[in-house]
Amino acid sequence: MNRKKIQVLSIPYVIWIIGFTVIPLLFVFAKAVTSPQGAFTAGNLIAIFDPVHRKALFLSIELAFISSILCILISYPVALILRSSKIRNKKIILFVMILPMWMNFILRILAIQMLISKNGLINHFLSLLGLGKISIINTEAAIIIGMVYDYLPYMLLPVLNCVLAIPDDIIEASKDLGANRFTVLTKILIPLSLSGIGSGITMVFVPSMTEFVIANILGGGKIMLLGNVIEQEFSVTMNWNLGSGLSVTLMIFVLLTTLISGRTVSETDKGFVI
């Protein structure tokens, strides 16, 4: 097959993109640069500098960033442990770890709320042990827990796939050459699994930025992320123009972040291997 012939295969997709991604996106852009009365304006795009929106944006970045880091810190040791363990079928562990994603997302977040609320199960358990209570519900910490919980599988998958795929020979060779365990980790394992970590970061960071349900349920409606502001503009205030404007800025912003981090989601090894 020559290249031209193969490229014909993309025709259905190109049609689909134009029909269902580009055209709806044009609607959004059109709303973003007009006022509710229909006049042209840049106000909706500049609105990101409004103190309320700016605060929400920075908070979104902060929480998404912390969640991404926590996901790496949790996932990487799991990958290393699984790598060195003698379990024959490591894929099954992988399965078991992504399985929770099959429970409805809202139900899972409600379950977390029940676990960490003031009279929740965790506090109940702690008081049985005679320990003090934790009070994290309706705080930023609760939102971070929710995000880490919900997006951890997105990090686990690529990281695990990457780390497990590193051939043993390389490690053996480096050990033969006198590398200690720390050097193996920093000089071999981590560099070789960077692509997995990279795609994991994007997969966690991007949805955390537009998220609003987690913030609503676990943040007790007291904490506004940019996703919440956009959602409010669309579904409560009904200022679709401002909502679109903020979405477009958010989109540009996320695109920039993914570019700066050196990779878009797709360029890295996503590694959803079953």
């Binding site: 580009v22 709806p24 409600l110 996503k270």
Partner: protein, 261 residues
């Protein structure tokens, strides 16, 4: 030795973190009270009630039809697109990936309302409009699961087959597809999951009387989730667990075969 135990404990803690909420939901399906914050005793009545609830069973059917149909169509379009994108020159490749990423970047509500405004112009909202919306957000996941596989694939096998006289369709189905199957399956399952979980886009693109489990659950949050919903989730969860274990055992043995080869 101590390291081993520490390691196992660590994985155990992560598992506990991932499964604690699931266990809460399963426990709730056995709770006699309708309120999720009170435990008034053990019951199996929600499981029997579940199969008598027309609304839930119908929504379950719609959800499944939607998930598998949209994932299947997205897999076909996505597979073809991935093959094409893989063979593109760097510039085109980048452009295609840029557009592939867009549905992942937009807030759901923006995508949902934009699609609704667009669909209204040429299509009565119904099952088909939701299906198209789901295919739209599913394709990127499929492509993103298949592309890395293509990139690590040994293209020489395919060329060897061609040199040995196989026509390209034959070489494709016999050499490339088997290698791509893990990626395709992963994309497919990813798409099924995404489709089952989506609420916002479904809500805005669905027609009258079409309900998925997500839209039912969302409506119930305010007045309290119906216990039948926990029962259904638990059944579904166990079902998936069993299916995945079976699939895994099957592909696992294939995997060993291929290693032996």
């Amino acid at each position: 030795m101590i390291g081993k135990i520490l390691g196992k404990t660590y994985v155990g803690i992560v598992m506990l973190f991932l499964y604690a909420p699931i266990m809460v939901l399963i426990a709730l399906s056995f709770n006699a009270s309708r309120s999720r914050v009170l435990w008034t005793g053990f019951t199996l009545k929600w499981y029997t009630a579940l199969f008598h609830s027309n609304a839930i069973m119908k929504a379950f059917g719609t959800t499944m039809a939607l998930a598998f149909l949209s994932a299947a169509i997205a897999s076909v379009i996505g597979l073809l697109a991935a093959l094409a994108i893989y063979s593109m020159k760097r510039r085109d490749y980048k452009i295609m990936l840029f557009f592939t990423n867009i549905p992942l970047l937009n807030a759901d509500i923006v995508t949902g309302i934009a699609l609704m405004l667009w669909f209204v112009r040429f299509l009565p909202l119904g099952f088909s409009s939701v299906l198209m919306a789901h295919i739209t957000f599913n394709i990127p996941y499929v492509i993103l699961c298949i592309l890395p596989k293509l990139e690590t694939m040994d293209i020489r096998q395919f060329e060897a087959a061609r040199d040995l006289g196989a026509n390209s369709a034959y070489a494709f189905t016999r050499i490339m597809i088997p290698d791509l199957i893990p990626g395709i399956l992963a994309g497919f399952f990813m798409a099924v999951t995404m489709s089952m979980d989506d609420f916002v886009i479904t809500y805005f693109t669905k027609g009258a009387g079409v309900n998925t489990l997500s839209t039912l659950i969302y409506g119930e949050i305010r007045k309290g989730i119906k216990p039948e919903m926990y029962a259904l989730s638990s059944v579904l969860f166990l079902l998936v667990l069993i299916i995945l274990i079976v699939v895994n055992l099957l592909t696992g043995s294939e995997y060993k075969n291929s290693e032996r080869r």
